[in-house]
């Protein structure tokens, strides 16, 4: 099944005062001659969220972020940050917004401190000296503050990027693959820093192609594939939702199937290899187990069919040819869509 068909585009977007919504993109499109890099993308990042923007390399994540920050002009659609349009208003629309796309870049012939001083000057902040000291301390670069950035390691550059972003005292922090190239310790520190910033009330839009990174930090995600959003919502919802698939083995599967049909609560999905697969809520599973016992059907196995987030991610982002059979994880009539498993 095509991930496009599995799109959650039909899911209702939550309504907020536009001035309070950190990111609100509608129909955002970017075309480079024949290549459609971003295709009618809708994205809402609610205030205070650590929002994951997930997709494989080349899916259109960075192009989207560049459009959000006003670095590239959309071919169609609009993007608002706290209700302001960076394309029309330029840097004025970036008040309260900071971050970086791809790796943060600085002047290699200037020291880390000088680079931050220059960033403060670009922000019109003429009294940033003490704040720069604090931030250099925060990102553990105090010792290398006078060293030229050209001599920094990749991780030091990433940390300087965070410091430069925080210098703007942002309400929205946009981070594009912030842990790329970091060693395990650096990844851990970055993750802790992001969670700490989130706890301080900063909304974070975290773009990544690494599922594990997003899974550990974010509660909400948008998944992008070939320039289109194929899922947006809570990670927990993506992972299971109230209705989940279960494997069922009994002493008499035929009668069990009849019972399920008669009971009408759980939904029978398929039957194969001496095993039934059903879709049910936790409460329905409890009722079913009691009903089976009452009917004299021995229960050998009743277990959730685990679809790992990774499986779901791959099924959403891989080519159609690679997609595995579909399995519903959404209840009938619910907002959730269907994802390939």
């Amino acid at each position: 099944m095509s991930p496009d068909a599995l799109s959650m585009a039909g899911a209702p977007q939550r309504d907020f005062d536009p001035q309070l919504v950190p990111v609100c993109a509608r129909g955002l499109t970017k075309r480079y001659s024949e290549v459609l890099a971003v295709d009618r993308l809708d994205l809402t990042v609610p205030p205070g969220a650590v929002f994951g923007f997930l997709g494989p390399n080349g899916a259109g994540k960075t192009t989207t972020l560049r459009m959000l920050l006003g670095l590239i002009m959309p071919s169609a659609g609009s993007a608002l940050l706290f209700g302001r349009d960076p394309i029309r208003e330029g840097a004025r629309a970036l008040a309260g917004v900071a971050g970086f796309v791809e790796a943060p870049r600085f002047y290699p012939y200037l020291s880390g401190r000088r680079n931050l001083e220059m960033m403060a000057a670009l922000d019109g902040n003429t009294s940033a000296r003490a704040r720069i000291d604090e931030l250099l301390e925060l990102v553990a670069l105090s010792g290398a503050a006078k060293q030229r950035v050209g001599g920094y390691s990749h991780g030091m550059g990433q940390r300087l990027g965070i410091a430069a972003a925080l210098l703007r005292e942002p309400r929205l922090l946009i981070l594009d693959e912030p842990t790329t190239g970091l060693d395990p310790g650096g990844i851990r520190d970055m993750r802790e820093l992001i969670l700490r910033l989130s706890a301080e009330g900063i909304t974070i839009l975290l773009s990544s192609h690494q599922l594990s990174e997003v899974q550990e930090i974010c509660r909400e995600v948008a998944i992008i594939r070939r320039g289109r959003i194929v899922y947006t919502g809570a990670i927990a919802q993506l992972h299971g939702g109230p209705d989940r698939a279960y494997r069922l083995q009994t002493s008499d599967n035929a009668r069990a199937a009849e019972l399920i049909g008669a009971q009408g609560a759980a939904q029978l999905l398929e039957s194969e290899d001496g095993e039934l697969r059903i879709s049910a809520t936790q409460a329905q599973v409890g009722e079913l187990s009691l009903a089976l016992g009452s009917a004299g059907i021995a229960l050998y196995l009743l277990a959730p069919l685990q679809a790992t987030l990774e499986d779901l991610f791959f099924s959403l982002t891989e080519d159609d040819d690679d997609a595995r059979p579909a399995l519903s994880i959404g209840g009938a009539g619910a907002d959730q869509g269907r994802v390939g498993l």
Partner: protein, 298 residues
């Protein structure tokens, strides 16, 4: 409250003053951006390479002239005057450096100042701060033009100092054959440099345009240096004599009108409008391109 939570209580970094103060605020912001562009120039080797190229010829010329004390048979009036007054030296240097060396120096910064940001990937860094694209463009363009002006006057100052130290501060014979006093000659040299800067700044504007358009530092610098060479070649092609008054390279000699008695303002005025035809469209194209361009690299 922790250090990270201050965004809840402080003014945004981009908070702006009341409209009445907006003009001075913008002006202060521009001055700040120019100051930072100048600091960046000071931190780069190519800045010193250009300034070194500007001061080396007059210094070397004076040293070798003094070492070689034999008879000199110069054809140019200023070359013949060189041992009588040191003030002939900056004029002679302007004559020699005006067609290639000073354009190269101007191109080194004008061709690089935008393209280097693309090369370093820093354009996205500065465009996601609070300065508008127009302000950043203005700061960079003004910085490149200031550097060009500084290079010309530095070369002139070194030539004057070296010439005066070697041959004295005496009156100067003009191209008309009359003499002007040393103080007046000094003023004429300053004015001649200013007049020469008109076509050189037009060339720098072309360099800025190429820097924005090519996004490649080496290509922009080379193309800017190539521009006067191509125009010099065009000036040599038979049948194109009618174009000569409108070639940028022809304007490199307009300053000589100031070295006549009475002053010949005709070439200077002609140079001003011809150079405007080269420089202003180039600057406008650079500005509009920079304002509208996608920053997709880096």
């Amino acid at each position: 409250m922790s250090t990270l939570g201050r965004q809840a209580t402080v003014e945004p970094a981009t908070a702006r003053p009341a409209p009445t103060a907006a003009g001075s605020w913008r002006s202060a912001r521009l001055r700040s951006l120019i100051a930072w562009e100048l600091r960046k120039l000071r931190a780069q080797k190519r800045t010193y390479l250009g300034l070194g190229l500007a001061i080396l010829p007059p210094a070397v010329f004076v040293i070798f002239w003094n070492l070689h004390q034999g008879p000199h048979r110069a054809q140019n009036v200023f070359a013949r005057e060189i041992t009588r007054t040191g003030l002939a030296m900056p004029v002679l240097m302007l004559l020699f450096e005006s067609f290639l060396l000073l354009p190269i120096i101007a191109a080194l910064v004008a061709g690089d100042i935008f393209a280097a940001e693309d090369g370093n990937g820093t354009l996205k860094t500065i465009l996601t701060r609070s300065a508008q694209r127009g302000q950043i463009f203005s700061a960079k363009a003004i910085t490149a033009l200031l550097y060009t002006i500084a290079a010309v006057y530095l070369a002139s100052a070194v030539a004057t100092a070296a010439g005066v130290a070697s041959w004295g501060f005496n009156s100067v014979k003009t191209l008309s054959g009359t003499f002007v006093s040393a103080p007046r000659a000094l003023l004429l040299i300053v004015a001649a440099d200013a007049c020469y800067l008109i076509p050189l700044l037009a060339l720098a504007a072309i360099g800025l345009m190429l820097s924005v358009a090519t996004r490649n530092s080496a290509a922009a610098v080379l193309a800017t240096v190539a521009a006067p060479i191509v125009l010099l070649i065009v000036g040599q092609i038979p049948g194109l004599e009618g174009t000569h008054p409108y070639l940028l390279t022809e304007q490199f000699q307009a300053w000589q009108g100031l070295m006549r008695t009475p002053t010949d303002w005709g070439p200077v005025a002609h140079s001003a409008w011809v150079c405007a035809l080269y420089g202003l469209p180039a600057l406008a194209i650079a500005y509009l391109t920079f304002l509208r361009r996608d920053v997709a690299g880096g």
